[in-house]
């Protein structure tokens, strides 16, 4: 898979004394799955390295003539790049790589929910399931909650594919 880069030059904003952070985040969230970001800045944007690293991007920074910097942010081909929304606000821990992947985008509702709940029963405590859907699974969440599993989900940058990660809690009856 080849990565194409979207260019973003925040040097004019910085020279005008502006704050480019929001502009950068908007550009990043609009990136496609195989797209990276080529950022031009007036300094080495070290805080961004960590920020985008947690969103699944590696970086490669080069100092240009005149003291400006060019940074290439390249997406890792992993699910941590999906911009996951935590199920609970204080749930910021790293989850292990998924043990099972499902692509449920072409299935009639409620078949995606049926497959996810069936797959979860085959997983061990702490294992993670990843599933692609064509819409937010509104009726699945209460069922996951009742069984004590944790989940994170969000739309992919394409805006139409919804990815959900479920971390299985095995003693679900007792937890619920």
């Amino acid at each position: 898979m080849t990565t194409t880069f979207v260019d973003l030059d925040v040097r004019p904003t910085l020279r005008d004394g502006g704050e480019p952070f929001e502009q950068i985040m908007q550009t990043v969230s609009a990136l496609g799955p195989d797209q990276g970001l080529r950022l031009l800045a007036t300094f080495e944007p070290v805080p961004l390295f960590h920020m985008l690293g947690s969103k699944g991007f590696t970086h490669e920074a080069t100092e240009l003539a005149g003291g400006d910097w060019e940074v290439l942010f390249t997406p890792l081909q992993s699910v941590t790049a999906v911009n996951p929304v935590p199920a609970t606000a204080n749930d910021t821990t790293e989850w292990p790589e998924p043990d099972q992947h499902l692509d449920n985008r072409e299935l009639d509702p409620p078949e995606p929910m049926v497959r996810i709940l069936a797959a979860i029963e085959t997983l061990q405590h702490g294992e993670v399931l990843s599933a692609l859907l064509c819409r937010e699974p509104m009726f699945l969440f209460p069922e996951l909650e009742k069984r004590g599993h944790q989940w994170r989900g969000g739309f992919e940058p394409d805006g139409t594919t919804y990815r959900i990660l479920v971390r299985v809690a095995r003693n679900s009856e007792q937890v619920a």
Partner: protein, 452 residues
């Protein structure tokens, strides 16, 4: 936070009450009570119209919104308790309203008039509905497009109820206010246009965008056209209400506001038609289920109603034929779509209630195992054929033949309702497996919320 959406406890109760009212309305038509045997403004016709508009369509829509408005905005319903007192108030208010109309017709002793009390009780019921849905929608702003259709529908409901209360006070001789009496004397077209066009049709359009896309695996509609549908419809309603009331209070004719509103409304509906064609063409699911096929019949009835209204208007006969147009809109479009979608919704909600908790833990039937489409299909066919032939008898002016078609509508509706009861009681799951269903049967009239 992603709370998801749980089963709305009282939605099935609304559906049951609504279907009972539909059957009652069809019995009235079969009996020759109200239009076409009586004139459009006769008290008997008012009884029939409100049994259908409030008892059937509004209760159906409220029950569906308690379940699906939360889905449109990915939030839980504000209160899962309020729908019950609201339903009881609406049923009591409808009873008072119908009694009040029967007083007007001299079939019940007329003093004191029950209409003012009906206005108070009905508006209390609708206010509870609006409060609950309003508190659900308000925190979700900015609203996604289908929810904005629903919001416009709810505002129209509030306006329809407000006009209705003014009529009730005036007919019950509880007001001497000149503006109120002027409105009561002339605003009937506004009450009907905002009720059928704003509340029932716009809400149905908003929900149909989402449900049709969901059940046919079509991409959600985006872009400017659906937004334009809403903007034009909103403009049409604003003109009809604001300019219409202005005209009434100044003693002017309603024809200009109604004409301007119709033109904007037509433009909106033409764009909606294009959207729906696009949805059917862009669907990924080639073989569509009965509910989506029957929805096509409802949409065709909608188009036919618009064509009929335009034709009559061109011939200058719209005033004589408005009853026929309303009949096609109400029974072909709104009721047809309602029955078709109920066939899917009842199956889906029942499946979710019964099998959601055991999914993955035992072999569960599919949603389609709860229904027998071949059996239901014939009832739907009879329903639409009888509505369309009923329309013809009304156009030609054959009241006796109309009662025969009403009898067929009644039989078809009872057939569809019996299919819905079989779905709800898991009868066909049991028949297919050759034994009782492995899960407890749900209650016919309400859902048991799963314990979270």
């Amino acid at each position: 936070m992603m709370p998801g959406v749980t089963l709305s406890r009282w939605t099935m109760s609304y559906f049951f009450a609504a279907l009972s009212a539909l059957i009652a309305g069809e019995v009235l038509m079969l009996a020759g009570f109200g239009y076409p045997a009586a004139s459009l403004r006769a008290p008997e016709t008012l009884v029939l119209v409100h049994v259908i508009a409030i008892g059937w369509l509004s209760l159906l829509m409220c029950g569906a919104l308690f379940q699906f408005a939360p889905v449109l905005i990915a939030r839980r319903l504000y209160s899962d308790t309020l729908p019950l007192p609201a339903l009881l108030l609406l049923i009591a208010g409808l009873g008072l309203l119908l009694s009040g109309f029967l007083q007007l017709s001299g079939r019940l002793p007329d003093l004191p008039s029950l209409l003012p009390a009906a206005g108070i009780v009905l508006s209390a019921g609708f206010m509870l509905v609006l409060w609950n849905l309003g508190c659900t929608l308000w925190p979700a702003r900015p609203l996604p497009l289908p929810a904005r259709f629903v919001t416009t529908g709810l505002i129209s409901l509030a306006l329809t109820v407000a006009l209705g209360v003014i009529f009730a006070l005036a007919l019950g001789q509880q007001t001497n206010s000149e503006p109120m009496l002027a409105i009561a004397g002339a605003a009937l077209p506004l009450h009907a246009a905002v009720g059928i066009g704003g509340w029932l049709t716009l809400t149905a359009i908003g929900v149909s965008y989402r449900l049709l896309a969901m059940f046919m695996l079509a991409p959600e509609l985006e872009g400017t056209r659906p937004k334009l549908v809403l903007a034009l419809a909103g403009a049409a309603l604003t003109i009809v209400v604001a300019a219409g009331l202005g005209a009434i209070l100044n003693g002017a004719s309603l024809s200009i506001p109604l004409f301007a509103g119709s033109i904007l409304g037509l433009a909106s509906l033409a764009l909606y038609g294009a959207d729906i064609l696009h949805l059917y063409r862009a669907r990924k699911r080639r073989t569509i289920e009965l509910n989506s096929r029957m929805a096509i019949h409802a949409l065709a009835s909608f188009a036919a109603a618009i064509g009929l209204a335009s034709g009559l208007a061109i011939l200058g006969r719209l005033e004589d034929g408005i009853g026929v147009v309303v009949f096609v809109l109400v029974f072909g479009w709104l009721s047809g779509l309602g029955l078709a979608k109920l066939y899917k919704i009842v199956a889906f909600l029942t499946w979710l209630e019964c099998y959601g908790p055991v999914l993955g833990k035992m072999a569960a039937p599919r949603v389609q195992d709860l229904v027998v489409e071949t059996r239901a299909r014939k009832w739907f066919r009879v329903y639409f054929l009888s509505v369309w032939s009923g329309t013809l008898t009304l156009l030609i002016g054959l009241p006796t033949a109309f009662r025969v078609t009403a009898a067929l509508m009644l039989i078809a509706t009872i057939g569809i309702v019996s299919e819905l009861v079989r779905i709800r009681l898991l009868s066909d799951v049991a028949a297919r497996s050759g034994g009782p269903a492995a899960v407890p049967r749900p209650h016919l009239l309400f859902s048991r919320p799963s314990s979270i």
